[in-house]
Point group: D3
Chain length 284, copies 6
């Protein structure tokens, strides 16, 4: 299910390390003798869906290809508080140099996977998929979308270039849905579908008449959404429906039961809290 | 108070745009005629300390140097829900190309500034400063530390290279506080102080005897912290005290009143939720 | 119709200039006095569809922002032999430094646009679209796909990441069409269609039964193609058909009349000859 | 004979792969199970001088250092249609990720080598060398000049910085050949020769009188060229002669027999068609 | 004592090699058969403190990971004229490609270490430390500061961002020492000290009253310096004193005996002469 | 005479600034109010040939395009102690941010120009040219060779790729001069000459017989050099002679009078001391 390649996922890890290391780790280099060997272990401080373990391994491997890492869980797995997620053996200065970047990634990505998974469970048994948005941290989109996958969510667009989604601002400037959908269908190739945001019956009719493949509804209550979905499917039985806006862990099931195929949630990537993971070292 | 230079703060904005734009904005370029002019406005959806407004301007300027932006608030200012934060005029395709990256930055940085500020207010009237940590998003450290400043917080280390902080993992590997502090004092230049993590009376004595300038206490209750601070100041009246661990908006004032000079909180950078800001466009 | 953004199109022009200039233009700097002003003009040596004129302008602008360029044609326009395409005024050393890179781009991209256009004309009046492939020059994909657009062709995938096309090698390794299509449909989001290469009736049935949106036929004669298209449309009236292989300017119309929706041709990008364009200078 | 270093030749291969892979290979990652092993083979579809085989190997090695490649031909070797050029064994997803970039390089570079070689054979037995020009694809100059070598051609300048060639535009702006040659001789070091374009007897005399080492004649018929070469050698027996313009596979021998030392041909790099090479995979 | 990390120290070696190699080593590739093996040795032409040996090894390793290098001295060691510093075995073309860059680094860094060491010996027995400045070669700061360490010197600031030093130009613009020191103390965190340049008694008093941790005196004679140091220590016994200006190998001991804690010398990095080291090869 | 282009000369200035600024200028940003305007002037502390003034301007322009700079001297001009070289007006924080990098370049490059010029004057009236070597600071080759030009010296090779010089290590590995020269003549194009290092009569004869264009003599006394030059010119009157080794300001004229065409001196780039230049600011 994960088609992101490692080159793209982990291409910034060198930059992340440089950001933290700068000209070098003064503390460690002052205190720890060269070639001191040590062990470290990542410990889960709470229950979570783990994500970013491979990224954390990549952090240490980037610093020193000889590092040995033994993982006791996999990205996407649910683990309990107290679980030792991975153990790493190597030079003390390498472990100390990579510790913070590894933890920052692991805590953040696990937070996203865990929050995503809570939404996925909340709609279990319905047809709805939980999907992400472009509301990701600048510079971390690939990693955060990977974490969404690990939590059981699906990815929407990776950028403005890989799919057509006509939103409110486009329509405001383009001057109408019909024209916008028509132009988009003509412009994009035979391998892409057209999604368009509609807010009422008239717009819905207009979008479908011009060949929209997917409708996006935003900021509705559950009843209104249900009514508009029904209407859409009467007009075009194969149309896909995405819903977005005001979705919480409490309200999400209602939107799913209203018949949405996809429920997209910005909060899973931009408002997840970091999971509690620590890294504890000891001399070898 | 902000000594971060713009080159360093905004150096990644081109990368952030490329991440979102990829090969180009299919939707907009298919739908909107070239040279269509439009207006957009950033609207606050809730009360917040705004941060990232200059970054958002930089996003549009990076795309098109001719863009006109009028700001109605400044980074660090508190604004109410419904406030129009800024207005921007220019080409519709530029506004649509920059919208998401600008919002992602503005929402995240305002979230950090607002949460930081809540902690700053919670300790108002005490001597304690709220300081950040290295628990920042990889790739965004500078921007996030800037947001902390905008919320009234102070910055700690920017990386492993600009200050010496001896933590539990260092001591575990180095084999003792005395030796670690001694080596650090000898190694670093005459312009840096030495901070060391201590967990009890004996360690505190050892650290101060060897010349530590700042003590770091972690994961204590308020009473225990107060006791150890008193003791530290008896031994070394000028010593500075940092406290970290288990700090919430409810508990923070207690730690401040216990006498900590600095209270460092990872959550202000790694667990702030995105603020509600929207961008609304209309044709010119 | 062109949704490629200029940042992506022209991002390598600095590198192209550096490749040619290296440490500097020995000849010009030895011979021509600084600040000598000159005029240059691009002259078409044969009839062609021009493409790359904006790229050529970008070359000079990259060297010197003050350069003045007056274009007498637009990318996508057909021009006759002898036509002065553009005139440029500025410093002689800037014109001489940019001349070769500008010409190399203009000649190559016009060659692609002209060859593409010959195919487009050959199928005029049919429903078939001429589309490009990933058989582009490494490093120039965006520019070459832009040139295809200028010649009236359509673009297929820009890379392996923006659409799903299951080809012979995939099927050889995956072990069968049915499984491959099923997995692909499950993995990719709601905004992408699935194209699959089939070579006979059985494969065609299998692909359509599992939900393929587009069929790709390769290396067939016209009659066989016509027969398989008919069959495909009986099974699935809305299916789109792409044909590829053995297409020449002579044979292309036959394939179009056989009912293909898209005819993809690698030669338009990897075997077009450079158009004859020259750059003539005189002192000001 | 090849002094180009591999660092310079292959430095862009990572970029070429990123251009094609973008965020990852959706198709393969959706369909093929991780760690599936496969074999692939490069097959020549026509007779050709092969070039770019090392580049193709580099493509796979860049993706995965463990890849095994067995070559059955060498760059510069003539092979027949049907020849298996190389066999590669490894992970299926690596082979599919690198296939297109490897083929694009191999087809293009073999096309250049083969066309160059046709010209080299056409002048066999004369003293003339076939040389390339700066009319190369932007970004591929090193690789294309390498392919020229593989076809038996010689390289001229690699950029504006490694040799002095005074062409028509220089003379138009500088105001005369004598002055131009004099200035050039003074400016460049003791390790470079001076080449100058002349179009008639007067210019030829002027160039040689001022110390030109090489004369460049352009766009002449064979008789006129022969006459001017004779005259040049009367004035300066050691002078080298380059000819350029209107050279075809039919006309080239005439120019060679007229006495040119070097015949430079832009078409060998900017108008060679891609050779027919395919890559066929099977599961292991 | 050396906390600079290798990533930061050696990150530019690839660029240094590219600067020298450009498109490749014409001479070697023309003359030496591929895969010729050879030996080379670095020979000291004079007595010196060696520095840059690890950098030189890194040069060859960057070109070819299989290179074998045997060092007979370590960075920081004093060696005599005639000493073979290291021996390297590998491909002749690799040795010839890396020779010049390796020598340029080794000669320059050894020059800095040797000159630094001469100053360190000149103050032996006093309390004064020899420290470097920001007067380093642009692009080589890390390597040059490493060489200073190897010569027994200490490093001051690595950049404008890792310590506060208020110099004459700051005071001229800020309008006074008191205000400048006050603002600096407030702005920088709890881990940095404040150094300020003072030129007379009044400034000294002002600086110390406002909490300066380190005083910088410049361009004084020894007597005047001694007098001002005495006065400073009366006011603030713990204050550290740096002296800078007019320091030569002859005068430095005087300044040290006057009581300066640190004597900073720009010449050790910007005016050291290259040491005599040669590289001699022979066929294997 | 200077054919180096500005793109190549100044391409690293952004890196140089980043090296010094890091995360920002703590001192200035803490102390100086934003938008404070100031004046600065570069003052010569001794007599020198100035070089690097344009580089210094580029430093400030890189930081802030609006900066105003008025130069009172030009690169290559001789100036006296006390001369104000340039005045710059702008924001105080920009001046303070660029000061050190600008000075480091100006002092170093003026040092090289001044030392080069001393050698040029020492051989005045002879035919000999003073030329540089590849013994330059890694990363600064272009700027240092520019400084050599400003001092009246000539540039030799810019890298291993732009000329053929066969030195002792090549001959040791290649196994003889004759073979080496023959192969080199065959390999390099018609625009390059061949230089070869010879150490005695036999080698000289061998080199010339095989067509060497330039001979390089090393480490000889004046008489021996004179004798070998005479001999060389008997064999080949047009041959050029370079001498290198043991050249000082005292000995250089002797080598020039012995008849060398070029005298190459590594010390002018790797052992010049920095010139005394200061930068003095005042508030506006």
């Amino acid at each position: 299910m994960n088609w992101l390649d490692e080159g793209a996922l982990y291409s910034s890890i060198g930059l992340f390390l440089r950001e933290d290391l700068g000209r070098g780790d003064i503390t460690t280099q002052s205190i720890i003798a060269r070639n001191t060997r040590a062990r470290g272990r990542f410990l889960a401080g709470e229950k979570m869906i783990v994500a970013g373990l491979e990224a954390a391994e990549e952090v240490f491997m980037t610093l020193d290809g000889e590092q040995q890492i033994e993982a006791f869980a996999s990205d996407g797995e649910e683990i309990e508080a107290g679980k030792v997620i991975a153990r790493t053996t190597g030079f003390a200065d390498i472990l100390l140099a990579g510790e913070r970047v590894a933890l920052n990634l692991l805590q953040r990505l696990s937070g996203i996977a865990t929050l995503t998974n809570a939404y996925v469970r909340a709609v279990a048994g319905t047809e709805a998929l939980i999907v992400d948005t472009r509301k990701t941290t600048p510079g971390l989109r690939m990693l955060e979308k990977y974490a969404v996958q690990m939590g059981g969510g699906r990815n929407q667009r990776f950028g403005l270039d890989d799919a057509v989604v006509i939103k409110a601002n486009h329509i405001a400037v383009a001057g109408g849905i019909s024209e916008a959908v028509r132009r988009a269908k003509e412009a994009v190739g035979h391998l892409h579908k057209i999604e368009v945001r509609v807010s009422n019956e008239r717009e819905l009719q207009e979008a479908l008449k011009n060949g929209a493949d997917v409708l996006l509804f935003e900021d509705l209550n559950v009843e209104e959404l249900a009514r508009l979905i029904l209407l859409s499917r009467e007009v075009s039985p194969a149309v896909k429906i995405e819903y977005s806006g005001n979705v919480t862990l409490e309200s999400v099931r209602g939107y799913a039961e209203a018949g949405a195929d996809m429920i997209s949630i910005g909060a899973i990537t931009n408002s997840a809290r970091a999971m509690n993971v620590s890294f504890q070292m000891q001399q070898f």
